[in-house]
């Protein structure tokens, strides 16, 4: 199996990473090399194997739904790429 340029562009769209043609061609080569290496798994018959879902054999715990940090709005917004004192700002999405 090999990955063509169209597939590379499709994956980049899904991954929300824009790439130009030169980068896409380079990536096509890299990905094909990596997948060739990954294909080795097909040597194994895994029909009767159960997929591993958790490495630690424990069940997830429940905890009380409690507020532990309060009044952190200002702190959180400090890391915002564009300032507007109470909100995160993004390009206009509704015309």
């Amino acid at each position: 199996m090999s990955i063509d340029l169209k597939t590379v562009k499709h994956i980049s769209k899904l991954a929300r990473i824009s790439i130009d043609d030169e980068k896409a061609n380079k990536l096509k080569g890299d990905l094909n090399n990596i997948f060739q290496f990954i294909e080795k798994l097909n040597e194994l018959n895994t029909d009767n194997v159960q997929a591993l879902t958790s490495i630690a054999e424990t069940t997830l715990r429940f905890r009380k739904d409690e507020i532990k940090s309060e009044n952190i709005r200002e702190k959180i917004l400090k890391n915002s790429p564009e300032e507007n004192k109470d909100f995160f700002v993004v390009p206009k999405v509704v015309e």
Binding site: A15, R16, A51, I76, V90, P91
Partner: protein, 486 residues
């Protein structure tokens, strides 16, 4: 008394407790050395001014009951530190200042340690040579233009160069053990669930673990004791009784059964690694351990499995970097264009490559062929270890298939770079504890490591075996300080 910065954690804490050294003297000694060591490029962000203030504060009212009393420590820049920039080695987090503290670093400060600064690493911990960092590559103090290993390359270099007494790194496929091996230091990846992942920038959540990186095994046991804890904030943290690792440390390994897996004898492995392994085996015998040949038949499938599972989890974890709430943003005409430009410009090539692999294997129509297949093979790999551990107490292998290589030597060939982790990746896939200790040198005088793998939660046992081997091996890291400037 030997030079302050070359002392082990054990020596420094003893000297503080016996009032032979102050926290301020120690902190300033490490800072002075760091100022002359910029060529190694270990620091992404330093915290020197605050560290000196904190050391003075410690000295004014020292609490000597702490396990790390007034000890300055630099940590990998993957741990969120409250109020101190945390970049994960990426442009996309270049300006990110966390408003919370990771649990493992909090554990350090709660025992009296002081933050020296944040250490360079591969971008989002994706790499085996520290060459994918946005902040440039790190020099291995062992020799000029050698990689320090990765992804915890700034950490391994800082310990080897005496720029921090000890440090903590993270290990997803070998990122603590491989750099430890490349720099002649000790690095331990604990059992999955032993150290909290809360506040660590996530790479592959089912594989990531934090762990100690130190000059010797005793320091490693001291640091593990501090960072390993049950944590409500990490849903995969496991509540079990942790050992008093440093107190229970013992060289008595008489009668321990140590397995030697035949599948770890790979093609083209240098003779010196084969010899290193043989020496390790004979030292273990000298200590009274019983050597047993074992088989881990699916070893060869571990790397291909890892390169499905890890990128898949990474592509999900890294979906959060969209330029909206924090980090780097590249402006766009609309929201989608902003996302695409932000991620294209904010991530480096290796990270993008892995996001693409992950996105592909999880995409519609390919999930069963890749991701599900890999999780099945992962089950087989885990079963190999379960079977082996019904016969032995621990497993001894080389840590890496080679010593440190030159900067730039493998950057154009991702697959050859991935092969570095051939002996370390299976341990993450099975969630086991593993430690790398320096065990010898190759013909260029570069360090080589041996790895001891344990049963889940059996860190004490692998520490003890390492402690016994360390004594026999008597490794000396002769580092010439070639990088120092005035």
């Amino acid at each position: 008394m030997s030079d302050i910065t070359s002392q082990s954690l054990f020596e420094l804490t003893s000297n503080i407790k016996e009032k032979k050294l102050s926290s301020e003297e120690i902190t300033k000694a490490f800072i002075n050395r760091a100022e002359k060591s910029k060529k190694l490029n270990v620091y992404v962000t330093d915290n020197f001014e605050k560290a000196i203030d904190q050391s003075k504060k410690f000295d004014s009212n020292p609490n000597l009951d702490f396990k790390l009393p007034g000890i300055p420590i630099a940590v990998k820049d993957l741990f969120c530190t409250d109020g101190v920039r945390t970049t994960a080695g990426s442009k996309i987090l270049n300006n990110f200042v966390p408003t919370y503290e990771s649990t493992v670093t909090q554990n350090l400060w709660s025992q009296g340690a002081i933050l020296l600064g944040k250490l360079n690493c591969d971008e989002f911990a994706m790499g085996s040579s520290n060459e994918t960092s946005f902040f440039g590559n790190v020099q291995n103090p062992v020799g000029e233009n050698l990689v320090p290993g990765g992804s915890s390359g700034g950490s391994s270099a800082a310990v080897a160069a005496n720029l921090t007494p000890v440090t903590i790194g993270t290990d997803t496929g070998g990122s603590i053990r491989q750099p430890a091996s490349f720099t002649g230091t000790v690095g331990l990846k604990p059992t999955y669930g032993s150290c909290s992942r809360y506040g660590i920038v996530a790479f592959a959540s089912s594989l990531d673990q934090a762990g100690p990186m130190t000059k010797n095994v005793r320091d490693c046991s001291m640091l593990l004791e501090v960072i390993s804890s049950f944590d409500q904030k990490d849903s995969t943290s496991i509540d079990y009784k942790r050992n008093h690792y440093s107190k229970e440390l013992s060289k008595d390994i008489k009668g321990k059964k140590i397995g030697i897996p035949k599948e770890y004898r790979v093609d083209n492995m240098p003779d010196e690694i084969e010899l290193l392994w043989k020496n390790g085996i004979s030292y273990a015998k000298d200590c009274g351990a019983e050597i047993i040949d074992i088989s881990l038949p699916h070893t060869n499938y571990a790397l291909p499995t890892y390169y499905i599972v890890a990128p898949a989890e990474a592509s999900s974890n890294l979906a959060r970097y969209d330029g909206v709430k924090y980090g780097f943003r590249s402006p766009g005409q609309n929201l989608i264009e902003m996302y695409e430009k932000t991620r294209s410009e904010g991530f480096g090539d290796e990270v993008k490559r892995r996001i693409m692999i992950g996105t592909y294997v999880l995409s519609s129509g390919y999930y069963d062929a890749y991701y599900l297949k890999a999780q099945k093979v992962r089950q087989l790999i885990k079963k190999d270890f379960d079977d082996a551990f019904s016969k032995v107490d621990a497993i001894l292998t080389p840590s890496t298939p080679s010593s440190a290589f030159k900067i730039g030597e493998k950057t154009n060939d991702p697959v050859s770079m991935y092969l570095n982790d051939i002996f370390t990746v299976p341990i993450n896939l099975a969630g086991l504890p593993g430690i790398s200790i320096p065990a010898g040198k190759d013909k260029n005088n570069y360090p080589l490591g041996l790895q001891v793998i344990g049963k889940p939660f059996d860190e004490q046992n692998i520490l003890n075996i390492s402690y016994a081997l360390e004594d026999k091996i008597n490794f000396k890291n002769d580092i010439s300080d070639w990088w120092l400037s005035e």
